[in-house]
Amino acid sequence: MSAAIEQPGFDIARIRADFPILSQSVHGRKLVFLDSGASAQKPRAVIHAMVRSMETRYANVHRGLHWLSERASDDYEAARDKVASFLNAAREEIVFVRNATEGINLVAATFGRSALRPGDAVVVSEMEHHANLVPWQMLRESHGIELRIVKITDSGELDFADLERQFADGRVRLLAITHMSNVLGTYTPVERLAAFAHERGARLLLDGAQAVVHRAVDVRAIDADFYVFSGHKLYGPSGIGVLFGKRELLDAMPPFLGGGDMIRSVSYEKSTWAEPPYRFEAGTPAIVEAVGLAAAIDYVNAIGFPAIAAHERALTDHALATLDAIGGVNVVGRAQDRGGVVAFTMDGVHAHDVATLLDKQGIAVRAGHHCAEPLTRRLGLDSTARATFGVYTTMEEIDALAAGLRRVQQVFGG
């Protein structure tokens, strides 16, 4: 049916063939993987790049004077260049971390303690992942900042009137906010937020863990001060993530962790810090994972974000129409600008039971509060089930989800 509106040039069969895991069966059924928002599957190009790195070009980086170490260092730094051009940043502005969570913690622990004073306020929204909430609560405990929560509207969009109120007393120094909600699918209007924050003397940190997978991100065009994402949601490996920080901000920030690679000189009396980004990369980094992330970026760039975005828009439209047509299934989040993350409840059936019964049919979704407990409560819910889409998701899989949900209703006597 709706598979007919597939984008020209977007060869879904070929894309699916790139992901070895997708041909598996689960519980004797064809796997329908709708949990890419938690972590995406890996194309062969990423797997092979990592294998090749370990088989032919592996040693520690920045340390050895030998051939292999030079190759590994080249690959690791080439990955940094790749990420820099992916975000339209300079290479000095790209810090490799373990994941988005660590990126935000790094900013809280370094920028938070050096640029923020006790009594300064940090604003986050009601639709944050715990990764962009808990580090600021910790900073509140340790450093005496004030944490403010800006409301969302019932449709799941940022409430700009409330944002005005939160900023009214002029004490806000940082707006830390998601670029795309991992529950509601809402994209936040990031250019507008950057202008809003900057006009009021605040910096902007964007949690791009979800957004970066679905849209081209240009941190210069947005004018973001900090931007974080994780490799594993972008079809890359786990264990590698990215913090972008504007150069003058990183320059002024103290180190995060201490150790090898992050120093200029060390004596017992005093050590001096390396320049960014190395100042923030203590210890042996995730070398093979950086190579994998670079391969993942090549992979999505080869498909192209216009095609990816169009594909996912078609999937999302189809999913919303299909789920809305099932009586007793309620999608949460009705933002105008929303992407391939669809959370829902089913009348009379708990989300865990929905997920277990879908799993039995080979359909993988997530259920719970999705690391956004305050948001779930704000929606008046305990938990939701969530289907999330990737480049390899098909219209037929959405139809399979809908059929699967009808069978859940049968089991529960609906």
């Binding site: 059936v349 708990h350 989300a351 865990h352 039971d353 277990t356 019964l357 039995k360 049919q361 259920a367 719970g368 509060h369 407990e373 779930t376 305990d382 938990s383 059929a403 069978r407 049968q410 089991v411 529960f412 006597g413």
Partner: protein, 151 residues
């Protein structure tokens, strides 16, 4: 396409009945001990209240916010431990947890209804849903000791 039955083997009739219409749900006016169990991973929550006399459990009531497995487990537990000595109830908690962990049903009369939950064994991510009420029971029994109820 196959019917609903083959995917729903976990959700046996007894579980569905108790999830839909639990017999021991609610909040009594008088009780001797209470405890709460929650699973921060998913937000399931069980609030237990129980009456005790002479070292034995009288009746058990639960307020459960959670999935069908959790509600049914709380309700079947309330049946199973009513009137039992404290030590026997604690021993049953251990036996129930072992059943969920291993999938093997204890060969004893008290498990004739509880065995409906043995299928949870196949679903590792759901073990906590079934064992949460028992965890709350242990906590409530510990409190009866502290407050001197239950003798």
């Amino acid at each position: 396409m196959s019917g609903a039955a083959d995917i729903g083997d976990l959700y046996q009739r007894l579980i569905m009945e108790r999830a839909r219409a639990p017999l021991h749900a609610g909040r009594p006016e008088r009780f001797d001990a209470e405890a709460e169990g929650d699973n921060p991973m998913c937000g399931d929550r069980v609030h237990l209240r129980l009456s005790c006399a002479a070292g034995a459990i009288g009746e058990v009531w639960h307020e459960t916010r959670g999935c069908a497995i959790c509600i049914a487990s709380a309700d079947l537990m309330a049946d199973a431990v009513a009137g039992r000595p404290r030590a026997a109830a604690e021993e049953m908690a251990g036996a129930f947890e072992a059943m969920v962990a291993s999938g093997a049903v204890p060969d004893r009369a008290e498990f004739s209804a509880l065995r409906a939950l043995s299928g949870v064994h196949e679903y590792r991510s759901r073990h906590r849903c079934a064992t949460l009420p028992w965890q709350a029971l242990r906590a409530a029994l510990t409190k009866t000791m502290e407050t001197g109820h239950g003798g």
